[in-house]
């Protein structure tokens, strides 16, 4: 009863948030160059990307269209690997000059002591570094023998900062699944305070790689691992925002599932496309900064993001949980968009009686 009431209240809150659609999280895909070649990468990033890095001035022109940014407005630099940009500190400083904040997602390979200092000097406020297992599984997934050694340094540096809001993300797959407890211990020893776990989307080069995907039973075990970990208070473990997890909703995150793509999350992608999270299908693009006013696109478009009724198709049509889930994370709609790519709730229900 209490749970149902809370859910109902949350739906009202979600509706208000959608109506208000305050932009407070803007991804900037500032490069698609990458220094690694990860097995799970959903993008076509490579050392020599097809796209040139977006010039800072082009991005700033779009940023300057935002009238009175919200209180917690943050620009999240993502890639590719943002640290491959030589002007990363300048990018950060220009964002800060505008009274805005910035953060960054990195694979940690180039994050050494010098970089740590120059980024802090430039006003970096939050950072996420990804680690996908202990040494051998991480290096396997990253296709690079030195990757763990380098990310280990990066994590140590980032965790030592009293000012950075820092967390680590892990893409859980069949290889690292058995190591979760050890990774947890490793992160605690490194002084990491927050750890976010997610699973892989069956797209890009990961699609054909069976080792990347958990079985339904493993997925349930993952939920159990996260919910049990959250009862121990030594590190803040959570499942990422990626999908609705039915019976585990209140156990694996701080808040109910709410895909905020296009509601609070926008993006400017490498080719100037205006969209939401960088991992969603590129055909959802709402405009382009090279021909549209970014903020007026944010204010007036994004209909498909703000009215999700079109996701009531395929397996979502008859779903009893639709009102709480609304078709799962937006990034699970690709191609023809006739069916959701993954339903976490269904995976869990399949293993209920085991």
């Amino acid at each position: 009863m209490v749970t149902m009431l809370k859910q109902a209240l949350f739906r009202v809150f979600r509706k208000l948030e959608t109506k208000h659609h305050e932009l407070n999280y803007l991804f900037w895909e500032c490069t698609t160059r990458c220094n690694l070649n990860c097995r799970h990468c959903g993008s076509d990033c490579s050392k020599d990307s097809f796209y040139k890095d977006m010039p800072l001035d082009d991005f700033l022109k779009a940023l300057d269209t935002i009238e009175s940014p919200s209180e917690h407005f943050t620009v999240v630099l993502t890639g590719g690997e943002p640290l491959l940009r030589k002007d990363i500190e300048l990018c950060g400083r220009e964002i800060r000059k505008r009274g805005m904040r910035w953060s960054m997602v990195s694979n940690g390979y180039l994050y050494n002591n010098e970089k740590h200092i120059s980024l802090l000097n430039a006003g970096l406020g939050a950072l996420t570094i990804s680690i996908d297992g202990l040494e051998s599984s991480h290096n396997w997934l990253r296709n690079n023998d030195k990757s763990f050694e380098r990310v280990d340094i990066a994590i140590g540096l980032a965790a030592s900062s009293s000012r950075l809001n820092f967390d680590v993300v892990t893409c859980v797959n069949k290889r690292n699944f058995q190591e979760l407890e050890e990774i947890r211990t490793y992160l605690i020893q490194k002084g990491v305070k927050a750890w976010r776990l997610f699973t892989i989307v069956p797209i890009g080069r990961a699609k054909e790689d069976d080792e990347m995907f958990l079985t339904d039973h493993q997925f349930r075990e993952l939920m159990d691992f996260i919910s049990e970990s959250r009862t121990r208070k030594d590190i803040d473990v959570k499942f990422s925002c990626e999908g609705f997890v039915g019976e585990y909703e209140s156990k694996v995150r701080d808040s109910n599932f709410f895909c905020r793509a296009g509601i609070n999350i926008g993006s400017i992608l490498i080719d100037g496309s205006i969209s939401a999270c960088p991992n969603i299908d590129r055909t959802f693009s709402q405009g382009n900064i090279y021909k549209d006013n970014f903020f007026s696109v944010w204010q007036t478009k994004y209909e498909l993001f703000r009215d999700r009724s079109w996701t009531k198709t395929g397996k979502c049509t008859e779903c009893k949980d639709y009102k709480n889930c609304q078709g799962n994370g937006f990034h699970y709609w690709h191609g023809e968009k006739k069916n959701v790519l993954v339903c976490h709730n269904e995976r869990l229900k399949k293993t209920t009686n085991c």
């Binding site: 809370k6 209240l9 949350f10 009202v12 809150f13 208000l16 948030e17 208000h20 999280y25 991804f27 917690h72 943050t74 999240v76 993502t78 400083r93 800060r96 009274g99 904040r101 910035w102 953060s103 960054m104 997602v105 002591n113 740590h116 200092i117 802090l120 000097n121 430039a122 006003g123 970096l124 406020g125 939050a126 950072l127 996420t128 030592s160 009293s162 000012r163 809001n165 820092f166 967390d167 993300v169 927050a194 976010r196 997610f198 990422s240 925002c241 990626e242 701080d254 808040s255 109910n256 709410f258 905020r260 793509a261 609070n264 999350i265 999270c277 960088p278 991992n279 994370g329 990034h331």
Partner: protein, 128 residues
């Protein structure tokens, strides 16, 4: 404004103090703005000219910056009420050694609680 209150009240009632603080799968946590911008200019007390290559650091922390050719420096540091900003000649680029200087700063409450807190320092260094 009214709508914002409604949002905040209902968000609070959802018992999710984090209702307004979120992150996307591949995104970062929110930046809570725990920093303070320290900018300034370092000059020679004797000549009044700017000094390049002075190392500026804070207390015993790892962070530091060097003054540029115009004697300017700029770095975001932890938001502290009191800090000891240290100036040290590390390269003697002008073939003159300057004395080190420690400057204790106290940041008042109104600066600390402003949206982008910052302080500006004018520093003069003596010849050694």
């Amino acid at each position: 404004m009214k709508r914002d209150w409604k949002r905040k009240i209902i968000g609070g009632l959802c018992l999710t103090s984090v209702a307004f603080v979120f992150q996307a799968c591949y995104g970062t946590p929110q930046d809570f703005g725990n920093d303070l911008l320290v900018e300034g200019l370092v000059k020679s007390k004797k000549t009044g000219l700017p000094i390049k290559g002075i190392k500026v650091s804070v207390d015993e922390r790892v962070q530091y910056a060097n003054t540029d050719e115009n004697g300017k420096f700029s770095l975001y540091i932890d938001k502290l009420q009191h800090a000891n900003i240290k100036f040290k000649d590390v390269d003697s680029t002008q073939n003159i050694w300057f004395s080190n200087k420690d400057t204790l700063i106290t940041i008042n409450e109104s600066v600390l609680t402003s949206k982008q807190p910052k302080v500006y320092l004018n520093i003069e260094l003596e010849n050694k």
